[in-house]
């Protein structure tokens, strides 16, 4: 931050902010780019960031409902009113330094196409003194395809004039390429140790710290052909861009290969060194891309692709342990408010890492034999239990099932927990893990209720263990079983406990093992409904949920989903659900203020979805917020 100059950063941010606001009022928008600036760059780019039609995307965004809500976000409104003068002053300073208004900068210079590309430092390049500035200084070029060539010239000349005044201007020399001549401006903002090259050709503006790069780009722009492959022709670039949203405003491409040499060689003066596992991953990685969609919804996506054959076995095992589709969503109601679901193949991870853990315990010299044996037994127990769970699992907050919420002792919501279980086989006789764990869980929940409930309250009437027999989602089948023994009907055995009085809300606990799944929750009816839920009625198959999911993720492995609109309504109508979380000494006014802040945050958007999809050769990541004004006016 210091090295960049704080005031410079503020100028940049103010320009971005002002551009966002002002561009909304402009009546025009840019046509789609006809050619990519990637066609002008050499293929050995290390990393590049590309903006396409930013002005149009900005305009779409500023006219969207989402932007309207952000603009009305109370803390932002307060900040703008407090800092409006400063913002205007910074915008004025920016105008002095660049010679353009923030709107002109945003729409005229950056609005069509912009690309920043970086290469690793050149190992030996006498022609480019910039590399002498520091051993790790990369080479960079900034390309701007302006909407107006005159505007570009004006900015360039303004910058050169300012550098002349400050004494940093070195020279302006004619540059002839392919029969065309342009002026190359050279400045030395850091003295003799660095040089910057600025040039404008038509509506193409270039800035770089490496003169050969400038010449290469101009040659391609003028001659439109080159013997060397361009970035646009690089297969990794093409594949990476195809993985992103076609209309993304911003894109990033990271090409690992140009950096390989730097990764393998220790850096002079650096205390840290590259971890070997990271080198293994780096070696296998083909490319990384990322994008940002700016419009009626905000969504960021990333895609990492690697060569499966090059990946080390350990890395492959770990990635495989977290891969696959999160099936828990198929067990959740389609009106779920909050979902955290994922996949962890515990058995595979244990296969891979437990031997090392055991060896460490057994070989530990600072413990006697009994202690080591105790540690080994403890780990063995944990390993044994864990290896029978997963890979699917998750937790969900949803509305209480229809009917149950009307009971006086029922809450308006329910929690659901699910975990896939592995069946056990013993001499050909299948024994479910459920049989081993069922009494354990029931006893644990009973003890938990005893601990949570106020001392002195008689546990007998408070804790009522009820066995529920059900062959459908109909809660009328709930019956008491005086014998306390589970009864199975249609392979569903549900255990139900009541009497958690100290949580501030009437809550229950129920669980069952069904079809290789442990399902638990705070509503017996909800657990039963989840157990018998048809796939077509589940969250995973619901149209709303799929619409909110990125089209690039067809089978997410891990996800966090928040129905912000529903949570907002829940907090507005039932603020008491936060009571158990509030500190006891918090006064009423503070509680109300906290609640208002929370509700205003939830009002920013109607849904939040973060998802990761892992398969044998890639990781896809998507994070986004969206507004559904039809469902949530």
């Amino acid at each position: 931050m210091t090295s960049f100059g704080f005031s410079r950063l503020l100028h940049f941010l103010s320009a971005l902010t002002a551009g966002l606001w002002i561009s909304a009022g402009l009546p025009w928008h840019l046509p789609a780019a006809e050619r990519s600036l990637a066609a002008l760059l050499p293929a050995d780019v290390g990393v590049c960031v590309e903006g396409r039609d930013i002005a149009r995307h900005t305009q779409d965004f500023t006219q969207s409902e989402l932007h309207g809500r952000i603009a009305q976000f109370p803390p932002l409104v307060a900040w703008k009113s407090e800092n409006g003068t400063e913002l205007a002053k910074l915008a004025g300073q920016l105008r002095e330094q660049l010679g353009v208004t923030p709107s002109e900068l945003w729409n005229g210079l950056l609005g069509k196409q912009a690309m920043l590309a970086v290469w690793p430092p050149r190992s030996s390049d006498a022609a480019t003194p910039a590399t002498q500035g520091g051993p790790g200084e990369g080479r960079a070029v900034l390309l701007l395809e302006a909407t107006d060539a005159a505007l570009l010239d004006r900015v360039l000349n303004h910058l050169v004039d300012l550098h002349r005044k400050s004494g940093h201007w070195k020279q302006s020399q004619p540059l002839e390429i392919g029969g065309q001549t342009c002026t190359l401006h050279v400045v030395q903002p850091k003295g003799q140790s660095s040089r910057l090259y600025l040039v404008a050709l038509g509506n193409l503006g270039l800035m770089s710290n490496d003169e050969p790069l400038i010449r290469q780009v101009l040659t391609r722009e003028i001659a439109a052909k080159s013997s060397e492959r361009t970035l646009a022709e690089l297969p990794a670039y093409q594949a990476g861009m195809a993985r992103l949203a076609p209309d993304a405003a911003l894109r990033l491409f990271l090409n690992p290969r140009p950096w390989d040499g730097m990764m393998a060689v220790p850096r002079q003066g650096s205390k840290s060194s590259v971890p070997p596992w990271f080198l293994d991953l780096w070696k296998a990685a083909d490319y990384v891309t990322a994008s940002c969609e700016l419009g009626s919804q905000l969504r960021g996506e990333a895609f990492l692709h690697w060569d499966r054959a090059t990946l080390s076995q350990t890395a492959a095992d770990v990635l495989q342990s977290f891969s696959g589709r999160a099936g828990f969503c198929d067990r959740l109601p389609n009106n779920a408010w909050l979902v955290l679901a994922g996949r962890v193949d515990v058995r595979r991870l244990i296969d891979r890492f437990a031997p090392q853990l055991f060896k460490e315990i057994v070989a530990r010299s600072d413990k006697n034999e009994n202690q080591r044996r105790g540690d080994a037994i403890g780990l063995l127990t944990v390993v044994t239990l864990l290896s029978n769970f997963g890979p699917d699992g998750g937790i969900c907050l949803a509305p209480a099932p229809v009917g149950s919420a009307t009971k006086p002792d029922s809450a308006a919501f329910q929690w659901l927990v699910g975990m896939e279980t592995q069946p056990l086989e013993n001499g050909g006789n299948p024994t479910a893990l459920a049989d081993a764990l069922d009494p354990l869980i029931a006893s644990g929940l009973s003890r938990a209720a005893e601990l949570l409930n106020p001392r002195g309250s008689a546990p007998g009437p408070q804790i009522q263990r009820t066995e529920i027999i059900s062959s459908s989602a109909n809660s009328s089948n709930v019956t008491d079983n005086k014998e306390g023994q589970p009864i199975e009907t249609d392979r569903l055995k549900l255990t139900h406990l009541r009497g958690y009085t100290a949580l501030g809300l009437p809550q229950e606990a129920a669980y069952t093992f069904v079809q290789g799944y442990f399902l638990g929750g705070t509503s017996p009816t909800g657990v039963v409904q989840s157990a018998f839920l048809a796939s077509r009625d589940s969250l995973g198959q619901s149209e709303t949920f799929r619409r909110r999911m990125s089209p690039r993720l067809d089978a997410p492995s891990h996800l966090l989903y928040l129905d912000l609109a529903a949570l907002r309504r829940l907090l507005t109508t039932s603020p008491e659900i936060l009571a158990p979380l509030a500190p006891k000494d918090m006064d009423r006014a503070t509680k109300k203020r906290t609640l208002d802040t929370l509700v205003s945050l939830l009002r920013l958007a109607d849904s939040f979805l973060a998802a990761v999809q892992i398969d044998e050769s890639s990781i896809r990541l998507s994070v986004g917020v969206a507004v559904d004004s039809e469902r949530n006016p």
């Binding site: 090295s3 960049f4 005031s7 290390g46 920043l116 970086v118 500035g133 520091g134 200084e137 990369g138 960079a140 900034l142 400050s166 940093h168 400045v187 903002p189 660095s194 710290n209 950096w259 730097m262 060689v265 650096s270 840290s272 060194s273 590259v274 971890p275 070997p276 596992w277 080198l279 293994d280 080390s312 890395a315 962890v344 991870l349 296969d351 891979r352 031997p355 090392q356 055991f358 060896k359 460490e360 057994v362 044996r373 080994a376 037994i377 127990t381 944990v382 390993v383 044994t384 239990l385 290896s387 029978n388 769970f389 056990l424 024994t431 893990l433 049989d435 081993a436 354990l440 306390g484």
Partner: protein
């Protein structure tokens, strides 16, 4: 017999690895008290279920040797029977904790807190390496040359053997320049965590990129030239 006496007696019986139903006193109480009957049944079911659980030992036969030398099933059952609630609660709590740890922060590769896998590799595949072994007599003299040569040799081995860098390091740990890789195994230093290590690994890229952008950033003159540094 009262219920609290039943519970004490039940634990004693289980300590002896006997079935609750083999004890006449327990049996008599169970015939009168459904709650205690259910509790006795729960203990027996839980312990028999745990005894059926398979331990995953598929990867390394030495693992089985080590563990079985230290642990056997009766020992596990004895522990569970002598302190069933402590055992069950500890197991569940530890299971949850481990699950979280495994989910969120498991570092799959040697993070320095574990002994190097070289200790468990019993047949070092040095012979599988290509004939181009490091020539110690040709070691470069300057630090830069040394490090560069070492890095190149490791990467050559990685490419030619198809093994990971970590595995090559373990098989040929003495090659000059091995200190460039932060295995942490020999120093026992606390590992910074996978996220920090990833950031550390990306440093060559981020440093170069940051410095390159910084150099372009200087094209915009500031009113206050003092901030330029």
């Amino acid at each position: 017999m009262r219920c609290d006496e039943f519970e004490i007696r039940l634990e004693e019986i289980l300590d002896e690895r006997l079935s609750p139903w083999s004890d006449p006193l327990l049996k008599e109480h169970c015939s009168q008290c459904a709650a205690c009957r259910g509790r006795a049944a729960a203990y027996e079911t839980m312990l028999s279920g745990l005894a059926l659980c398979e331990v995953p030992l598929s990867n390394d036969s030495h693992f089985a040797e080590h563990v079985l030398a230290e642990v056997n099933r009766p020992t596990l059952l004895r522990l569970a029977r002598s302190h069933p609630w402590t055992f069950a609660a500890s197991a569940l709590a530890a299971a949850a904790l481990i699950l979280i740890v495994v989910s969120l922060s498991l570092r799959p590769w040697n993070d320095g807190s574990l002994p190097g896998p070289a200790n468990i590799v019993h047949s070092p595949p040095i012979k599988q390496l290509p004939a181009e072994q490091p020539q110690h007599s040709d070691e470069p003299q300057t630090l830069d040359e040394l490090a560069r040569a070492a890095g190149d040799k490791y990467m050559v081995l990685v490419r030619q053997t198809g093994e990971s860098v970590a595995e090559v390091l373990e098989l040929v740990p003495d090659l000059p320049g091995s200190e460039q890789f932060s295995t942490g195994a020999s120093t026992n230093e606390a590992s910074p965590g996978w996220a920090a290590e990833m950031a550390q690994g990306l440093e060559p890229v981020t440093d170069s990129t940051r410095s390159a952008i910084h150099s372009l950033w200087l094209a915009i003159p500031t009113a206050d030239e003092d901030t330029r540094s």
